[in-house]
């Protein structure tokens, strides 16, 4: 490290300490003007023996603790480098202490897992549903909603918690390491747009090196420093991919693509499906050419595209089959008004009228989230009590009554609510069908109950099987839901029909024409 760099860092260290509170905003605004500071800080972080490392880590944490977003982002830009140094040292045989880096990482983590009021921060988002009108579409105009169990269970938008309830951590252990690091990368990715190019380079470098070090591919790299293999977690690799994906399109085309290749390489070797899935998708959707300027951004290339369908009229498509069907019906003289259908191109399943009238409310999701939060608290309270029998949980889980109306009574609702996929049963038999007209709704009910009964039978069979085997009554086994049975297929080798279970769209299409006709003719 050169003397000049050292003095830059030292000056930065002392300047912030002597800064009065009122000057912080202007300081935050001017920080990016210190051109030589960031490279100098990278030098410090990369060298575990540098005596400035400790004060630098300390100061980075102080910046992160301030209320100024720009200062927090200043610290955040070093996150990839910090993670790399931390993981490399952890994997090395001589485990030098990298205490201050660990402390900084844990410090950021502990700040981020809580919101302003000190409650656990819950990150959630809504999975949109096409059967609900949005500012971009109307359900009736998109004809592709097949009336299937799958479609029904997606009828409601679902609020999903994707991160939350992380406990405070005092130390890193092998067990919590990637839980902490994943969350930190999630924070980085939530602000990735604000990061400078040097940080993108760092994240690409980190990803490449973590994925190849100790593997044969390292030999092909310029960077050959001997290093042990670093254990990686699939979810952490997904976070790396997200950051790298951003870097690719925002100025680090070459490095980013190299990192992407390396992550996919490692995911293959580890047989991790999640990063492999994302990595493949990212690779296959890459534009063919690099941006004109090697550092240029390539978020999007737009040209004026012809609006005429590029697919010739004569080709048989899903839509043309539909058109054909309507036309045939037309000549049969079954009903009037099919031309307007023709324009809307209604489809299997929900016809326009049916789904238009069936939109309860979009606010349900939010309500459910708050309910979830209540439930979290409920559970926390329960933690103080003894873990009691199942029945103790039931009051907390029970739902507002209107949602329990339709499923056959033999299914235990509580059990279903607890299931991760509960909406299969508890929600979908909802108003949409009821309003399409009596025949059609009863028809679809038949279908539903058929499925349910099917599941029931199977389940009872399983239960009977158990009985036979053991000669002992099986207490809670009737709490199965169809879903859990589907899940159970995983462990039963004899599932020959697995490839096309009752819920698969393929079989459904063979079934649907008859009864979607019915529904539409109702309308």
């Amino acid at each position: 490290m050169f003397g000049s760099e050292r003095s830059v860092v030292e000056e930065w260290l002392s300047e912030f300490k002597s800064l009065p509170e009122t000057h912080i905003p202007s300081y935050a605004g001017s920080l990016h003007l210190k051109k030589s500071l960031v490279p100098a800080l990278y030098r410090v972080i990369q060298d575990p023996n540098n005596e400035l490392l400790e004060p630098v880590c300390h100061q980075l944490f102080e910046l992160y603790r301030s209320s100024e977003d720009r200062l927090r982002r200043f610290t955040l830009q070093f996150l990839p480098e910090l993670v790399w140094v931390y993981l490399r040292i952890t994997a090395s045989r001589d485990r030098q202490s990298n205490g201050c880096i660990e402390a900084l990482l844990l410090g950021i983590y502990n700040l981020e897992i809580v919101d302003k009021d000190g409650n656990s921060r819950l990150l959630s988002f809504t999975i949109p549903s096409l059967s609900k009108p949005s500012i971009y579409h109307e359900p009736s105009s998109l004809g592709s909603m097949v009336l299937t169990e799958g479609a029904l269970c997606q009828h409601d938008q679902i609020r999903v918690l994707y991160s939350g309830l992380h406990p405070q951590r005092e130390t890193f252990t092998a067990q919590n390491r990637f839980e902490v690091l994943c969350f930190l990368m999630l924070c980085y990715n939530a602000a990735v747009v604000y990061m400078p190019l040097s940080s993108y380079q760092s994240v690409c470098r980190m990803s490449s090196r973590l994925c190849v070090c100790g593997f044969p591919r390292q030999q092909q790299k310029l960077w050959r420093e001997p290093c042990n293999r670093v254990l990686l977690d699939p979810e952490f690799m997904v976070q790396m991919l997200t950051a790298v994906y951003h870097a690719i399109y925002n100025g680090e085309w070459e490095m980013g693509r190299e990192a992407l290749e390396d992550i996919v390489y490692r995911a293959q070797l580890e047989l991790y499906s999640q990063p492999l899935l994302l990595g493949n998708a990212m690779k296959s959707s890459l534009p063919e050419s690099a941006p004109d300027d090697p550092r240029g951004r390539k978020v999007l290339q737009v040209e004026v595209t012809p609006t005429v369908s590029r697919i010739s009229i004569s080709a048989i498509t899903t839509a043309s089959i539909r058109r054909h069907r309507w036309k045939r019906e037309d000549t049969d003289g079954m009903s009037g008004g099919e031309d307007s259908f023709n324009i809307n191109d209604p489809d299997e399943g929900f016809s326009s009228g049916a789904s238009n009238s069936s939109q309860p409310s979009g606010t349900k999701a939010g309500a459910r989230l708050s309910r979830d939060r209540e439930k979290v608290r409920e559970r926390e309270r329960e933690a103080d009590r003894k873990p009691e029998l199942l029945t103790d949980h039931q009051p907390a889980e029970s739902r507002p009554p209107q949602r329990q109306q339709s499923p056959p009574s033999s299914i235990n609702l509580e059990a279903i609510h607890l299931s991760p996929i509960k909406k299969h049963l508890s929600f979908p038999v909802g108003p949409a069908l009821v309003r399409t007209g009596s025949t059609s709704s009863s028809k679809s009910f038949d279908c539903m109950t058929f499925n349910l009964n099917g599941g029931e039978d199977e389940q009872e069979e399983a239960a009977r099987g158990e009985d036979k085997e053991r000669g002992i009554s099986v207490g809670g086994s009737h709490r199965h839901s169809t879903i859990s049975l589907q899940e159970e297929h995983l462990v039963r080798p004899e599932e020959a029909q697995e490839l096309l279970p009752a819920g698969a769209p393929l079989t459904k299409q063979s079934r649907s024409p008859s009864f979607n006709m019915q529904i539409i003719s109702q309308v």
Binding site: I127, R229, Y249, A281, L490
Partner: protein
């Protein structure tokens, strides 16, 4: 058509033809028109000029990106008509404006851009009425704005010739920015009016269809937008993005998408929806997002900072705008992934509609196009859903992609991976088989299949088949070759554990050992290869060799939990219990909540430090269970909850890892318990704490506290009545109380659930021995030895029974075997350590 039409009727008919673009009918109608009134001649000229211009453009369409080619012979006629219409000045003002607009358009087609701008300067487009205007006029105005924009782009800003043409402010004072602003405004207005026009046209069309009878012919033919409207709709955002002004581009995209779709805009919407999703995923993040109904941030990191001068401010409003989607409870995204997902789902449903299903060669190109547009959407969906951990939903989406997937490796592979990530293992394996067929030389695919087969599925024969595929690839499999040997080693190792005959057990163990050795020599820096070799050596009781390899594994990967555990068990096999306990405690400092380690710790503590301390550890285990579940099961937000999925995945893992006795494959397969895993959360929670109770009671039994042990066991039994472990425990308590008959009954029940539970068999054998039913006892014990030939206490008991029967020679042999095995027996079976790829 030969019947004469009255004046107003005729005008309506003309208006309709103009709106629907039926230009070929115009000349006939004009003939009828002129026959009525002389003053209609000018209008006739206008109409003829228009229809000829349109016909020309239809025959010689202008291509995007190319310039018009200058005057053409056919256009002379058009100019003649229009000049005639304009010159005489008899036209009503509305028609006069139309004639000027047509003239300007003609000028553009003839590449006379300045002249065109001159015409637009005279008309003043902004003052043309949108409300109440006939449909065709909306289209005209939209085209006019677009054409004006095109002309402005062609004519350099500082051009002096413009000022002559009465075009408002003198051009010399205009800066480039102003010019750019004006161009974009032209295009945006054009786009807005075009959307309005298309909505109105569609409305008119469907109204016309309903009013008219009998049914018209093929009126629902695709309406083509034509060059000018296409440009008007899209050029504005193209310029925004060219200028690096993403914020404005995103805003424009959203405006277009919010307008109610028409048949003609479907393709455009599909493209734009996908492009907007790309921007959201590639160029935005949670913190830089603003919702479609909010104002964009003043300064956005999205915009190219080097082009600050090009900020565009939207500063117009139209008297009539296109209809937007409206209604109560419209879903409006609040987060970038949400918006991206919504857009992608919309694109997906459109792409699906265009899926070309026929496979005849003529449609090859169409098929490729439809496949490409769909597969881009599916890739983006994968990225959006994957980063939020929504693999369940993703697998459902990708399943819909299967109608495109015939012989398409990428789609099949992605489906398989998503099924795998969603935990649908059995289906995943079947899809992977198809992937292997499509791409037989990729070693990753069969390896993924083996991973599932020996993991959650326990399909060992299938696993063996897949692993052999990798090995058969030989050198071609490169780095995956070692993995292939490891995979087949694991298959054999698990088969050995499952095998009920000693001979086949030994055969599989030998094969497994060979495979692991091969893997280790191929990949000496892989800690897993060294570890599994060590584990297999340990299982075959080659303790010193195993110690060597486990040390090697630990050198490669210092905090690998399984290696540490194996080291501790190996030390315990050498009867270095205190060293083993130290290792376990060290491992626990890195994995404080690992139940396998805790369980081993309990056993070791009971051995070294007495049951009191072991009991404390048991309590600790219980506490961890409670806190673990209070932390990870908060959301029952249903399908797609990633946290919940994770909890379930954890439990799957726990099934393999943390419940030694239950998952111990030597005590029969895991079906019973795997069934339980699919039970719902609370059941499992209680079940697990029940397990801990059972463990606790084992310690109590060690302390000879039958009352407490009975209470614990009762608790466990209430929660999980069919566990052979609980029944076994009850038997032990009964034994402790001296109720031999009762104990025998419990043991028999336990065996009826799990006929290969060695511990129960041993106890039962002992009791039968006590009851002096020697031959039955011998039979039970011999069965036990068949199941597990390394259980030294069973050998010992067998020796005792044989001795009691007077078979001294056989008894001695048994005792010797027991002694020998005991010398290398670990505190818990080595197979407690999970084996997975």
């Amino acid at each position: 058509m030969t019947t004469r039409k009255s004046g107003s009727r005729l005008e309506t008919e003309i208006e309709r033809c103009r709106s629907e673009g039926q230009w070929d009918k115009i000349p006939e109608l004009v003939r009828q028109l002129s026959a009525k009134l002389i003053s209609n001649d000018d209008l006739g000229e206008l109409l003829l000029g228009e229809c000829k211009l349109q016909a020309y453009l239809k025959e010689n369409p202008i291509k995007q990106g190319s310039s018009p080619r200058g005057p053409r012979l056919k256009l002379v006629e058009v100019r003649k008509h229009l000049t005639a219409a304009l010159d005489r000045g008899n036209l009503k003002p509305d028609y006069l404006q139309e004639a000027s607009l047509l003239m300007a358009k003609l000028c553009y087609v003839e590449a006379e851009f300045r002249e065109a701008l001159g015409h637009y300067g005279r008309v003043n487009l902004d003052e043309m009425q949108l409300a109440g205007a006939p449909v065709y006029r909306l289209s005209m105005i939209a085209e006019a704005y677009a054409t004006k924009g095109l002309c402005l782009e062609k004519v350099p800003a500082g051009s002096p010739s413009l000022s002559n043409k009465n075009s408002g402010s003198p051009s010399s004072s205009r800066s480039t920015t102003d010019r750019e602003q004006e161009i974009i405004t032209c295009y945006e207005k054009s786009g807005d009016i075009a959307l309005l026009y298309l909505q109105e046209a569609e409305k008119a069309l469907s109204a016309g269809i309903q009013n008219r009878s009998p049914k018209p012919g093929p009126t629902t033919q695709e309406q083509e937008l034509g060059y000018f409207l296409e440009t008007g709709l899209q050029r504005a955002h193209v310029i925004h993005f060219k200028n690096g002004n993403l914020t404005q581009g995103v805003g424009r995209f959203r405006e277009i998408l919010r307008a109610v779709e028409t048949r003609t805009t479907q393709n455009l919407r599909m493209t734009i929806a996908r492009q907007l999703a790309e921007i959201l995923l590639r160029g935005m993040c949670e913190q830089s997002y603003w919702s479609p109904l909010e104002d964009p941030p003043a300064v956005s990191p999205l915009d190219d900072p080097t082009r600050q001068g090009h900020i565009y401010i939207k500063n117009y409003s139209l008297s009539r705008s296109p209809r937007l989607y409206s209604g109560e409870n419209l879903f409006c995204p609040q987060e970038n992934t949400e918006e991206a997902l919504l857009l992608l789902l919309i694109s997906e449903s459109m792409a699906n509609r265009d899926a070309v299903l026929s496979r005849i060669p003529e449609h090859n190109n169409d098929r490729i196009i439809s496949l490409q547009s769909a597969s881009v959407v599916y890739d983006l969906l994968t990225i959006a859903l994957g980063r939020r951990g929504q693999y369940e939903m993703l697998s459902e989406c990708l399943e819909r992609a299967m109608k495109f997937a015939f012989e398409e490796f990428h789609l099949w592979y992605q489906l398989a991976l998503s099924l795998m990530a969603a935990g649908k293992s059995a289906r995943a394996v079947k899809v992977l088989k198809e992937c292997i067929r499509l791409k037989p030389d990729d070693p990753t695919i069969p390896l993924l299949a083996v991973k599932l087969c020996i993991g959650p599925l326990h399909w060992l024969d299938e696993g063996e088949m897949f692993a052999k595929m990798v090995i058969d690839m030989g050198e071609k499999a490169a780095e995956f070759r070692a993995k292939g040997y490891m995979a087949i080693g694991l298959v054999y190792s698990l088969k050995a554990t499952d095998a009920s005959l000693r001979s086949s057990q030994e055969e599989y163990q030998r094969k497994a050992l060979g495979a692991f050795q091969r893997a280790q020599s191929l990949s000496p820096t892989d800690h897993l290869a060294a570890f599994y070799l060590a584990l297999q050596l340990a299982v075959s009781r080659q303790i010193p060799e195993a110690l060597g390899y486990v040390r090697q594994a630990l050198q490669l990967q210092g905090d690998d939990v399984h290696s540490l555990h194996l080291l501790a068990l190996l030390l315990s096999a050498q009867k270095h219990y205190h060293d083993a306990l130290n290792i376990i405690e060290m491992a626990l400092s890195e994995y404080p909540e690992n139940f396998n380690l805790l369980y081993t710790k309990v056993k070791l503590e009971a051995m070294c430090r007495g049951p009191e301390e072991a009991l404390l550890t048991c309590k600790h285990m219980l506490q961890i269970w409670k806190s673990f579940y209070n932390l990870t099961n908060p959301s029952d937000s249903g399908r797609g909850s990633s946290l919940l999925d994770r909890a379930i995945a954890d439990r799957r893992q726990l099934n393999a890892m943390t419940l030694p006795d239950f998952s111990d494959p030597e005590t029969g397969r895991q079906q019973v318990f795997l069934l339980i895993w699919d039970f719902l959360l609370s059941v499992t929670l209680n079940f697990h704490s029940g397990k801990t109770d059972a463990l606790k009671s084992e310690v109590y039994i060690g302390m000879s506290k039958p009352a407490e042990a009975a209470a614990c066991t009762q608790e466990a039994a209430n929660l999980f009545p069919t566990s052979h472990n609980v029944l076994y425990m009850r038997g032990q308590i009964a034994e402790l109380k001296g109720n031999i008959e009762e104990a025998k009954r419990w043991y028999e029940e336990a065996l009826s659930i799990n006929p290969t539970h060695v511990k129960t068999m041993q106890r039962l054998g002992l009791i039968l021995h006590q009851l002096q039913r020697y031959s039955l006892s011998e039979k039970v014990l011999r069965d036990a030895v068949q199941v597990n030939s390394t259980a030294h206490d069973v050998w010992n008991s067998l020796g005792e029974v044989l001795q009691a029967q007077g078979n001294a020679a056989a008894a001695t042999e048994c005792f010797l075997t027991a002694l020998e095995l005991e010398a290398s027996s670990p505190i818990l079976p080595f197979t407690i350590i999970p084996r997975a790829l």
